[in-house]
């Protein structure tokens, strides 16, 4: 009973809270990083260097009035943010933070597929949110978002297939272990796949330069235009949680998960003094930094350009990568 119910429940509670806290600090990090990139200071008032802004933001959002437009479909309007956030959190069930079973909730043998499939559920939140608002801009944005998510999902899945081909397993623990055994992170074996997954990840999380669904200069905020208060916060949380998920996936698959750099070089063993989960979280935040960095730098794609990039560049390249990987697999 303890092992099958209590411990997992505890882990889930800890993990969900950790993710949510991470998200709030991620928001702070984004504000700070972009501010620095733009030669500003960012939040400075709440706490030293604005650190407590991470708490102030959620409190503000919780306290705000939660408006439901009159013409909205109120059930769906309420459900949409939940459907957006839940898959983002569910994914963490299979994300291993370290080699030990203590560090993950479950290691299922179709872990990678699980992540792909669950994140694909997240699109409902966006579509329904846009539709339920019964407003034109959110509707346009949600149509854009769903088309974008589905398109890029294909590219990402195609790319991940070539990774699966290399490892021979769908289990995320298995993938990291495979990297330890081969002594090299897959990011160096599959650089094309790394780039593709990262670009696809940017698109799937609606991050710049693919942030069309929430392009505030075009669509005044996208699908969550009509949302406010906590329901808006849930969308917000979902987006940032998704960023963490994508970063985690990239790290697990391409950057050795919890492994230290150069796991095959013995004299670097002192790096193992840091716990595995620190390595993992550190790498994840590194990628999150890259996300933010890109947002600070690049302009935004246009919808048609985004679609043609997805369908005409990423998917063909992913297929090509898959074929090349297959050929290598067979030949060597």
């Amino acid at each position: 009973m303890l092992d099958t119910v209590v411990i997992p429940l505890l882990k889930i509670a800890v993990l969900v809270n950790a993710v949510l806290v991470a998200v709030t600090f991620l928001v702070l990090m984004e504000r700070k990083v972009i501010a620095w990139a733009q030669s500003r200071l960012g939040p400075m008032r709440v706490g030293p260097y604005g650190i407590l802004q991470a708490l102030a933001d959620p409190i503000k959002l919780i306290l705000k009035e939660d408006i439901t437009p009159v013409k909205a479909d109120r059930y769906v309007f309420t459900l949409a943010p939940i459907m957006s956030l839940v898959p983002a959190l569910v994914v963490f069930a299979v994300v291993p933070f370290g080699p030990d079973p203590l560090y993950y909730i479950g290691d299922i043998n179709v872990g990678l597929l699980f992540i792909i499939s669950v994140t694909s559920i997240g699109v409902y939140g966006i579509i329904l949110g846009g539709w339920a608002s019964n407003s034109k801009y959110p509707l346009l944005a949600s149509l854009r978002a769903s088309a974008q998510l589905i398109s890029y999902e294909i590219a990402v899945t195609m790319t991940l297939v070539s990774v699966i081909l290399t490892t021979g397993t769908l289990s995320l623990v298995g993938i990291v272990e495979a990297q330890r055994e081969s002594g090299i992170w897959f990011g160096f074996i599959q650089p094309v796949a790394l780039v593709l997954v990262f670009i696809g990840g940017l698109a799937e999380t609606n991050r710049a330069p693919f942030d069309l669904p929430e392009a505030e200069t075009e669509l005044t905020g996208g699908f969550h235009t009509e949302y406010s208060g906590m329901r808006f916060a849930l969308f917000f949380l979902a987006e940032y949680a998704n960023m963490i998920v994508i970063s985690a996936v990239v790290v697990l698959i391409f950057f050795g998960g919890w492994l230290r750099p150069f796991p095959n070089i013995a004299w670097l063993g002192f790096l193992d003094l840091l716990p595995a989960w620190i390595w993992f979280v550190g790498k994840v935040f590194l990628f999150l930094y890259v996300f933010i960095w890109i947002r600070a730098t690049l302009p935004r794609y246009r919808y048609d350009q985004l679609m043609s990039l997805g369908w005409k560049v990423l998917i063909p390249v992913a297929i090509g990568n898959l074929v090349v990987t297959g050929v290598f697999k067979v030949v060597f």
Binding site: P209, R300, R302, Q305
Partner: protein, 377 residues
């Protein structure tokens, strides 16, 4: 959301056409412009601009002020380029009254106008880039604009609405040390321009978003009455600083950049080059700044002889013209009329956006560089 535009198809089931309302509360319409878009999916079939949300009746107000008080009303039209507004007005009055302006004053006016051009273009660059999604450029550009505002503040005490010129010259000479600061700003600005260009000019996404977007030929641009960078972007060499020199422009050496394709990217490149040309003019002005008074001989009470005049200058946004009628009796203008460049350029929007996507609309509003205060007056 009320939609006044006629619906081409009355059926609410029609999936082909969607009418959406961009603005007046929209982050990318640069104020309170309202654009009613008829969409086919994401493609714009037609666009109608609805203006007048900040109409204050400036022209009518001016007809009830005396000639000197009008200057501070002109500040409020293109409020991001108040100095050029002043310049155009005072020169128009000087033309009407045939007042000789001291050379030093003309030099300083030129410097101020070009400085104002830098400030205005900074604002344009930042907002245009942000409309297309490049956030950082906005803050960079505003950072540099801040320097300009500081300089203006030091010169005339105001940061936005300067009221910086007078009929017959300038109210004040430049403060001591101001020219040195201006010079260092010029050096600084040149470096920052390279920064902007690094971020944008060869950026693939920027190119994709601006190349071949909103293409307009020279003939069409003339036909629509476009002026300023949108006109020059289509390869029409029309710049009043060269064509009808005012202030001290005929004594300066500068180039007029011209576009070839007439698309958004060309207009971007032109404005970037205008930054550099402005810096060049400012430097020449500082180098050759003559000594002498900054205010000419002007009567206490301005009372131009009966008559009318039209005087236009090249403001940062294009041809800014003032049409003044004096009855010769009162101390107010009988008629005060402005030809605002933003208003004329905005007429091109309908033509530019047709056939493009919604996302291009904001890019195109950005590229024609409007200020609603000037459009509505």
């Amino acid at each position: 959301m009320t939609v006044p535009a006629p619906r081409a198809s009355t059926s609410q089931f029609d999936t082909n056409e969607l009418v959406i309302n961009m603005g007046p509360q929209h982050p990318s319409t640069h104020g309170v412009l309202r654009v009613v878009l008829r969409l086919d999916g994401e493609r714009v079939l037609d666009a109608d601009c609805v203006i007048g949300y900040i109409h204050r009746g400036v022209e009518k107000l001016c007809e009830n002020r005396d000639w000197t008080h009008i200057i501070l009303l002109t500040d409020r039209m293109d409020y991001v380029a108040a100095a050029t507004n002043n310049l155009g007005y005072v020169e128009a009055v000087e033309k009407l009254m045939q007042i000789e302006v001291p050379r030093r004053a003309r030099y300083i006016r030129t410097i101020l106008a070009e400085l104002q051009r830098i400030a205005s273009h900074c604002l344009w660059l930042g907002t245009h880039a942000m409309d297309i999604g490049a956030l950082t450029v906005l803050l960079y550009a505003f950072r540099e604009r801040e320097f300009v505002l500081d300089l203006f503040e030091e010169f005339c005490g105001a940061r936005l609405t300067y009221n910086s010129m007078r009929v017959g010259g300038l109210p004040l000479d430049i403060p001591p040390g101001w020219d040195r600061k201006l010079r260092s700003f010029c050096d600084l600005m040149e470096g920052k321009l390279d920064d902007y260009e690094t971020l944008l000019t060869n950026n693939r996404i920027w190119l994709k978003r601006t190349r071949d977007v909103g293409v307009i030929s020279g003939e069409e641009a003339i036909g629509l009455g476009l002026c300023g960078p949108p006109l020059r972007g289509s390869g029409v060499s029309r710049d009043l600083r060269k064509d009808e020199p005012n202030a001290a422009y005929e004594e300066f050496d500068f180039d007029i950049p011209l576009g070839t394709r007439g698309d958004t990217y060309d207009r971007y490149l032109i404005r970037m080059e205008e930054f550099r040309q402005s810096i060049r003019i400012i430097r020449q002005g500082l180098d050759g700044l003559p000594e002498g008074p900054v205010m000419g001989k002007v009567p206490r009470l301005l009372k131009p002889p009966a008559g009318e005049t039209y005087h236009a200058i090249e403001s940062p946004k294009g041809e800014l013209g003032y049409f003044l009628v004096s009855d010769g009796k009162s101390t107010n203008p009988y008629r005060f009329r402005v030809r605002p460049p933003s208003f004329c350029n905005l007429q091109g929007l309908k033509r530019l956006v047709r056939g493009h996507l919604v996302a291009d609309v904001v890019a195109l509003i950005g590229t024609i560089d409007i200020v609603l205060g000037e459009v509505d007056r």
